[in-house]
């Protein structure tokens, strides 16, 4: 009996160790991918939103920062300007609006809502100021409008 179990475990072990290697390589791949995309964004562009969560624990692709230079939509669908595959984010979740040098966020009727500094941002535009915390799905972003030393 133990021999049979050992024999089964031997195959299981080989499978598991390759799963492990695959898992590590996948995380590294996500890491590199986000670095590459961050590189194309260019430095010194404001404003942007910065991810506060520890990216490696999420299990889906998120960049460290997203630039908000024009009206841009955020959600799971590919036609959004910012695509995030978080299951808790709606397909069309929210929208950033730039008008007269001011920045606004508007929820687009998402299932789980959008919070700005802990307050629900409804369908009407909410003005964003430097240092505001935006919560969507499982993610927390920081809105950064100017350089910090």
């Amino acid at each position: 009996m133990p021999v049979i179990v050992s024999t089964i475990l031997k195959y299981v072990f080989v499978v598991i160790i390759y799963l492990f290697i695959f898992g590590v390589i996948r995380l590294i791949y996500l890491d590199i991918n986000s670095i590459n995309r961050k590189g194309t964004g260019g430095k010194g562009h404001y404003p942007y939103i910065k991810l506060i969560n520890i990216r490696e624990n999420l299990g889906f692709k998120v960049d460290e920062t997203y630039h908000i230079d024009k009206d841009i939509e955020i959600g799971r669908l590919n036609k959004n300007g910012i695509v995030i595959n978080d299951p808790y984010i709606s397909s069309r979740h929210a929208r950033f609006i730039v008008r007269d040098g001011k920045y606004y966020i508007e929820d687009q009727g998402s299932t789980n809502g959008t919070l700005v500094n802990g307050m629900a941002a409804g369908r009407q535009e909410t003005c964003l100021n430097d240092g505001d915390k935006i919560h969507m799905g499982q993610l927390d972003f920081l809105f950064v409008d100017r350089p910090h030393v």
Partner: protein, 424 residues
């Protein structure tokens, strides 16, 4: 917390893999060994706790420890299966290694002047080398052990790290000269600098040859050569060093019976199967016996290979976990080396860059030399497989080196954050 230990994350898979390894170990022999349960729990919780500390406290690169945790678990399981007493000792060394990992991380971060201690590194190394030559005990043809009471200790494992630090000090210095504008003076300085680096490196290698530790000598030369290639960049000087190494190797081959045996058994071990080729042929038999999936833990006969728990552990892994298990181990070292190179690439400071690169190439070459040796790809030289082989000095030294690499990666991440902040 719940998110960190999910079954899709590598840590979850690592725990699962450890559970499978330990149940195989537990089942492989009757009567069942109950000591395995606490040992297994301690090792798994040690790895998990360390990984969670690294993640939670943001101590730099998070993949290094994960990969090393896997390698160390495989190594422990194999050693325990080969020899129970060795296995228990290995578990103790593993615990000590993890503690030393955090300790070296902490010490490295606390002290800022590592690049100015060249004199201390060199005098420490010379002291250790002399101590080995005088007090050393000849074990298996190489005088590289110091015996203190019941414990044996291999100074060359620590000297490896000191060697990397000394080289890094030199390259830090030479890089500053290149920034100078005075060309003639620069050339002269460069020659002196190169002579000093070469003198230092060959002194280290010379000491190792005096101890007849050819594997370590080869490793030191390879680390030196790679660092020279990256930080010096002069082709003629590089060729000169390669020539010197070639002459040294040929000279050794002509003069020493010991080396001729190694080369003979590498080219064709089969006529000497009963005596000098015994070890390598047994290793090849073991690898062949394993097949794709291996015989299963405890169901092969790797104990026929002499030195199976140190130098030849890779053959035992191939026999009992299969060639797929062996390839997985090689892949894990690949990831380790890749992460090391990435840290070396991202860090700005030349000294830190050199240390990160040196440590990474040390792990990489050590793996190459011993795995290449046991599969008869290159002549066999006795050296340990980092994190897997049995042995306190080797395991703790590897963990100290890993701690330093981790500290470099952490410091770098902090630095780039700050710089980005200033630039904005």
């Amino acid at each position: 917390m719940t998110r960190l230990i999910s079954w899709r994350q590598p840590l979850g898979i690592l725990i699962l893999a450890d559970a499978v390894i330990f149940s195989m170990l537990y089942l492989h022999k009757q009567p069942y060994d109950y000591a395995l349960i606490p040992i297994g729990l301690i090792i798994v919780s040690l790895i998990c706790a360390s990984y969670l500390i690294i993640i939670r406290k943001g101590l730099g690169d998070q993949y290094l420890f994960l990969v090393v945790g896997m390698l160390a678990s495989i190594g422990f399981a194999m050693i325990f299966r080969l020899d129970r007493a060795y296995g228990i000792k290995q578990a103790v060394w593993l615990t000590a290694g993890v503690i030393l990992f955090f300790l070296s991380y902490w010490i490295y971060i606390k002290i800022q002047m590592w690049d100015r201690l060249l004199f201390y590194y060199m005098s420490c190394s010379v002291l250790l080398f002399s101590a080995t030559l005088i007090l050393g005990k000849n074990i298996k043809g190489a005088t590289n052990w110091i015996v203190i009471g019941n414990h044996t200790f291999q100074p060359s494992e620590i000297i490896k790290i000191l060697f990397i630090f000394s080289l890094a000090c030199f390259f830090k210095g030479s890089q500053q000269f290149i920034h100078n504008n005075c060309r003639i003076e620069l050339n002269w300085h460069r020659t002196v600098k190169r002579a000093a680096i070469a003198l230092m490196a060959y002194t280290f290698i010379g000491f190792l040859i005096l101890q007849r530790d050819w594997g370590s000598a080869m490793l030191f030369f390879m680390i030196y050569f790679v660092m020279l290639y990256i930080f010096d960049g002069g082709w003629r000087f590089l060729a000169l060093n390669a020539g010197a190494a070639f002459i040294g190797a040929v000279g050794g081959f002509m003069m020493l019976y010991h080396i001729r045996v190694r080369v003979d058994t590498w080219l064709n071990p089969w006529p000497h199967i009963a005596d000098k080729g015994y070890q390598i042929t047994q290793s090849l038999f073991a690898i062949a016996a394993g097949g794709f999936f291996g015989t299963g833990l405890g169901m092969g006969k790797p104990e026929f290979i002499p030195e199976v728990s140190t130098d030849f552990i890779f053959s035992a892994i191939c026999e009992e976990m299969g060639i797929l298990g062996g390839v997985a181990v090689v892949l894990l070292y690949f990831i380790l080396a890749y992460r090391g190179f990435k840290i070396a690439l991202t860090v700005k400071d030349i000294f830190k860059k050199a240390v990160a690169l040196g440590i990474t190439s040390m792990f990489g070459f050590q793996t190459f030399i011993i795995i290449g040796g046991v599969i008869k790809l290159i002549p066999l030289t006795g050296i340990t497989l980092p994190f897997i082989s049995y042995g306190g000095s080797s395991l703790t030294a590897s963990f100290i080196a890993l701690g330093i690499l981790q500290a470099i990666s952490a410091g770098d991440y902090g630095e780039t954050e700050e710089q980005a902040g200033e630039g904005e």
